[in-house]
Symmetry: C2
Subunit: 229 residues, 2 copies
Amino acid sequence: MPRLPAASVTVDLVVLTIRDRALHVLLVERGIDPFAGAWALPGGFVLADEDLDAAAHRELAEETGVAQGIHLEQLRTYGAPGRDPRGHVVTVAWLALAPDLDEPAAGSDAAGARWWPMDAVVAGDVALAFDHAAIVADGLERARAKLEYSSLAAAFCPPEFTVAQLRAVYEAVWGVAIDPRNFHRKVTGTPGFVEPTGGTIAEGAGRPARLFRRGPTETLHPPLTRAQS
Amino acid sequence: MPRLPAASVTVDLVVLTIRDRALHVLLVERGIDPFAGAWALPGGFVLADEDLDAAAHRELAEETGVAQGIHLEQLRTYGAPGRDPRGHVVTVAWLALAPDLDEPAAGSDAAGARWWPMDAVVAGDVALAFDHAAIVADGLERARAKLEYSSLAAAFCPPEFTVAQLRAVYEAVWGVAIDPRNFHRKVTGTPGFVEPTGGTIAEGAGRPARLFRRGPTETLHPPLTRAQS
DNA sequence: GGGGTTATCGTCGTAGTGACGACAAACCAC
DNA sequence: GTGGTTTGTCGTCACTACGACGATAACCCC
């Protein structure tokens, strides 16, 4: 058997959630070099004979403490030489969409972990290690695009949610205001997008909202267009 | 510096083209074990300190003999343990869309290379090595989806093409018949999708068709829906 | 109860699409 | 040439979906 060229393979996670009506991304503070003190995406090396999605799920559970109810999909793979000073490291990036979780527990190899507002990260207010700024940007764009033609927005919501909560997801991810009446018509009028549970919930002032859960529909035809208003 | 876990990294290419109004995929016949005699996607190992897209472009040029005018985008990364009997091999798959090329030249490490009709490959009439059947399926689905909301269909066409040629791309990739009049209206009515060159071309019977080239528009708003007829 | 707030339902005008008719401009057979 | 065939291009019509926005329902606080 010939000897094969080798590189190190890691997984990195772009974990997104909505907090206080704004999009946030989970970052960990690096405790060791390279980039000690900088913020990085949660991730780590793929173990021997470990599948890539298994590694992603493992890292996600380690960082968030939550193993289920989180959407996880492969984003893209990055392997530019020099992206990691330790050598040729290829990283498979994943996109995770989570409902609002509690503060993350610090991982064993990280000095700390916290949710950062996406606005601050995109604006460059956070020093990011490696090429993680580009990975975050790709993850954001993927999330924005996927909301258009899929029912993925519900992945940011708890199992039961209101139309207003779902609308808040779109507004936070897209950064635009959406007309509540037209959004309500689209969401409830698309067969299988959401299903009423029969219950209602009152959140502060205003008429109580009906509760819904995710329906079987995965794709939206026609899509929700991003240039709504 | 700690010793890092290592795996082998390869690139594999799903190269699609339209031949005789049908979608085809480029496959090479393996000359060596594992899977000697089976058909596989063109690809190979990523060299030391080589970027992933550089490796993909290099393999594409080696297999097709054409270096430019071919759309290339990353598809997905596959790393299930056991997908390669030689050990833990992670492959970064790429999707390439090419205009109708001549018969490919056999690569140095392949016994032969040829275009296979996608229908035959999907139907399982071709013995595919590794997990390449799944990769081809993912590439096909990506191409089908991208035609909806992007101007990527022109990547299957020569620099100057007719509306009918572009329509043939959609019909071949989607496997459906499209109304020529509505398609013509959509294509010519979307600003920046195609630009008339001023020339015309007569292909056999019928009125000569105007020639177009690709316009600056990359995305289609609203998209072309796949359920046209 | 009155005012404020949010949820939900309707209405209207318009853009985009599917179905399909009509004409234009080439080819072929005779 | 003449007529029939084939393919490209333009137009019409009905229907759907959406943006803008009015109206009503059902709660809160005071």
